[in-house]
């Protein structure tokens, strides 16, 4: 029952997100707005209810599975990918590598600049 409640709540937030995005003509996708609204709710309540925690852990622990049907969609695009395979593969590969390297280095450098040096193995002392 907990799990069902959790899934229901996630779907309700997604639905409200989708409706709000359409009503207000916002530039962000509905599930993202739903995520923001759930985050705000959790902040206000001060804790994540067991049901939501269970449902989100279940969904996120097999997140890779959810990408499989989209990945199989490759077969519907074989033609286009074959036509432009050089720009597609090179841009995708290089851009992913550049993004990952740059973000990791920027995060490392800015953490050293801005974060108060914390003693190791001790977090959350605000």
């Amino acid at each position: 029952m907990q799990f069902l409640n959790g899934i229901t709540l996630l779907l309700v937030y997604q639905l409200v997100g989708e409706i709000t995005v359409r009503l207000l003509g916002l530039p962000i996708p509905g599930p993202v707005l739903g995520m923001v609204m759930l985050f705000v709710t959790l902040m206000i309540r001060g804790k994540a209810p067991e049901s939501v925690d269970q449902a989100s852990t279940a969904l996120l622990s097999h997140l890779s599975l959810l990408f499989v049907p989209a990945g199989v969609g490759m077969m519907a695009h074989f033609g286009r990918i074959a036509d432009e395979w050089v720009p597609i593969t090179l841009a995708l590969l290089l851009s992913t590598v550049i993004t990952m390297v740059a973000t990791a280095l920027i995060m490392q450098v800015t953490t050293r600049w801005f974060a108060k040096p914390l003693p190791e193995k001790e977090g959350g002392n605000e």
Partner: protein
């Protein structure tokens, strides 16, 4: 002769979503087992093996993608609630996030702009069509977000979904080696980079390295989904103005 019987069963199955859904779960189950057998080698990423198995199976049986997707859509649909679910790890890491909010904000902003800018730029230099450039632009965001943006900026949402998956796999396979080469050892920085560049598939990989890397990757994926939705349409307009095709 039971040939006609089999034929009838096949006609029934190929018209029903049951088959597509079941083979998706079975293929993933097998792929995941293989992944565990190889001691979670990033090269045996379960998305790669299950997608490969499914494509071979569909081609061998002459099943179209749209027939398969009748069943596959039930799994695909869960990407929406999974995106909403990201609020939970985000909330759980909030105290750590609050300490690091400035580095995280700067890294996210730069990461999202670099991801979209470099893919548009590289595709343009390499002679890709505008449609390809726009389909590639949101590739580092999680699938439902990327597909929504792709549609807005003139890409092909279904092609974007494929590119998102390939990007995630690339990040998950190369990530840990890359971080070794550039000597980034902090799990926080590795997690943020993984989540920004390789969304959910990268996050699944990050959780294998450490729970802290996984949590930060999930956080970065959630925040960059939001940032990509806000920044990429604007970035495309800006590039249009500066570097007209």
């Amino acid at each position: 002769m039971n040939e006609p019987g089999l034929q009838d069963i096949w006609v029934y199955l190929s018209a029903s979503p049951l088959l597509g859904l079941t083979i998706t779960l079975v293929a993933y189950g097998l792929a995941y087992r293989l992944y565990l057998k190889t001691n979670s080698s990033p090269l045996a990423n379960p998305v790669v093996t299950s997608v490969a198995m499914l494509i071979l199976l569909l081609l061998a049986t002459g099943t179209s993608y749209s027939d398969y997707f009748e069943g596959g859509q039930f799994v695909h649909f869960l990407l929406g609630p999974a995106t909403v679910a990201l609020a939970v790890p985000l909330y759980q890491q909030f105290s750590r996030l609050r300490q690091l909010w400035l580095p995280v904000t700067i890294s996210l902003f730069c990461g999202v702009v670099i991801a979209a800018g470099s893919s548009i730029g590289l595709a343009r230099i390499l002679g890709g069509s505008t449609e390809i450039q726009m389909s590639l632009a949101p590739k580092s965001a999680t699938a439902p977000v990327a597909m929504g943006i792709s549609e807005k900026i003139g890409g092909l949402p279904s092609l974007t979904a494929v590119l998102v998956v390939i990007t995630g796999i690339t990040g998950a396979v190369l990530g840990t080696k890359l971080f070794e080469w550039i000597r980034v050892r902090d799990d926080t920085a590795k997690g943020i980079a993984m989540g920004v560049a390789a969304h959910g598939i990268g996050t699944a990989r990050a959780f294998q390295v450490s729970s802290q890397m996984g949590a930060f990757s999930g956080l970065a994926m959630a925040l960059s989904a939001f940032a990509t939705a806000l920044l990429v349409p604007w970035l495309v307009d800006l590039l249009e103005a500066w570097l007209p095709v």
